[in-house]
Every structure is written in structure tokens, then in C-alpha cells.
């Protein structure tokens, strides 16, 4: 699994490529911790290249959610149908601080709509 961090409209954008499991999720956790420690209120994760996630990866997402401020959110961008199904199953989609985006354009539009965003 590869994790690359860039940014979209000043928000950290974590791009993951590969399978997120118990053996690899620590790399994603480290990237999210770095983004959150830098004061990010919104963190985006691009999952377009992720074909698999299990409870190891899901736990990392829940852990990141707990560290967000109440008005912050986690943007999950382009999860495939199976990954999205798991998100729904474990209740991630119902979390008020989670937003799912079909593409980066809609994710970016949500960022522009934020107060104080560039």
C-alpha cells in the first residue's frame, strides 16, 4: 500500500493506493495523524485506487474521526462500490462528520463552500 499526501484547497488530501488491512493500516494512520496534528479541520482521503479495506483500515478512519473538531469532517473520495458498502455497514456513512464524494470536483466544491476557505 502506498500513501501520498498532497492538498486540495488547503485541505490535506491523502491518496491511498493498494489494500488497507491490519498489516498496512498503520501507514494510513500515520498520514492522518500528521494531517490532524497540523490543525486540519477537514481531511480528504482519495480511495480511487483502494480495492480492499477491512476492520484495520476502518478503525483508523474511526480513530481519525474522534480527533476531528465538532465542525470538522472527513471526506472519503471515490470509494468503490464494495468499499462503500462496508462504510455503510459499519456506520461510517451515518456519521455526521463523514462526507462521501463521487469525485474530486464535488469534494473541492464542498471545500469552497466552507467558511474561510480559499
Amino acid at each position: 500500500m502506498d500513501v501520498r499526501v498532497s492538498s486540495l484547497r488547503d485541505a490535506p488530501l491523502v491518496e491511498v493506493k493498494g489494500e488497507i488491512d491490519h498489516g498496512t493500516c498503520e501507514d494510513l494512520n500515520a498520514a492522518l495523524c500528521t494531517a490532524l496534528d497540523a490543525g486540519g479541520q477537514v481531511v480528504l482521503i482519495d480511495l480511487d485506487q483502494v480495492g480492499y479495506i477491512d476492520s484495520g483500515g476502518l478503525s483508523v478512519l474511526f480513530s481519525a474521526l474522534k480527533r476531528l473538531s465538532p465542525d470538522g469532517w472527513l471526506g472519503l473520495v471515490r470509494p468503490n462500490a464494495n468499499v462503500r458498502r462496508l462504510f455503510e455497514l459499519v456506520g461510517l456513512c451515518a456519521d455526521p462528520n463523514v462526507r462521501i464524494f463521487e469525485d474530486r470536483v464535488t469534494a473541492e466544491a464542498a471545500l469552497v463552500g466552507r467558511t474561510g476557505a480559499a
Binding site: H22, G23, D54
Partner: protein, 136 residues
């Protein structure tokens, strides 16, 4: 394509380590392709089998003993059995700060048609995860 007949059987052994879980999922993919499962059911099986193996890696305390994953078809159902020869040990509290929130078992139950756990008198546990091959 007709359903695979009773007697279909495949097996692998891996070292009981988190970094080997990817090998288990490749095995599930191979088996799923052989029995012509659709991609959604294949994904469900990959998650369930991988979670069961991750539990062994986490709890069974048998790093030095290989973990066996066996797939077989019987009565129009495909079953993966994960057998370890260890005994339960509690998770290491310092291993990961975020924990796994206990999501592994609920995922197995939610994604599979049948889940069973059998403890062997000789030590170790067998988890069986089944999907029906017909009626979907």
C-alpha cells in the same frame, strides 16, 4: 456455468503474521474465480476470511505455527475454514493506539451466510465462513 461439485477443495498455509494477510486474500480470489463467484461475494469473502486470519494473528499466540486456510464446496455452499493451533491471548494494549474497535467479528457475521467457531480439545480454534452458491 454449473455449480462446482462436492469435493472441491483447496488449501494454503501461511505464517501467522499481519503482513501475510494479502496472501490469504489472493487465495480467496483464486478460489472465488474457480467457483465463478461474483465480485461482490468475492469481496465479502476476502474481508471475512482476512478478518478471521487477523484474529488469529492477534490472539492465538502461535506466530511460529502456520495458519491453515482451507476452502471446500459441500451441498452448494462454499466454506473457508481457518484453523489455528494456538490458545487465546489478550491483545497487546500497546500495539496500536486506535484498536480494532471489535469490528472484525461483526463484519464476518454481516457478510457471510453462516459463521461457526469450534474449539478443538487439543487446543486451537477453527472458524468456518460459508456462502451459499445458489439462491442468489
Amino acid at each position: 456455468m454449473s455449480l462446482p461439485s462436492d469435493g472441491f477443495c483447496r488449501a494454503i498455509e501461511i505464517r501467522s503474521e499481519a503482513c501475510r494477510l494479502v496472501e490469504v486474500r489472493r487465495f480467496v480470489e483464486e478460489v472465488a474465480a474457480e467457483v465463478a463467484l461474483d465480485s461482490e461475494r468475492m469481496f465479502d469473502l476476502k474481508v471475512a476470511v482476512s478478518e478471521a486470519c487477523a484474529n488469529v494473528v492477534e490472539h492465538s499466540g502461535c506466530e511460529s505455527v502456520p495458519l491453515e486456510v482451507r476452502a471446500h464446496v459441500h451441498a452448494e455452499r462454499l466454506t473457508f475454514s481457518i484453523t489455528d493451533r494456538g490458545c487465546f491471548k489478550p491483545p497487546n494494549p500497546t500495539r496500536q493506539a486506535y484498536g480494532n474497535r471489535g469490528l472484525g467479528l461483526p463484519l464476518m457475521v454481516a457478510l457471510m451466510d453462516e459463521v461457526t467457531f469450534v474449539r478443538s480439545p487439543a487446543g486451537g480454534t477453527r472458524v468456518s465462513l460459508s456462502v451459499l452458491l445458489s439462491g442468489r
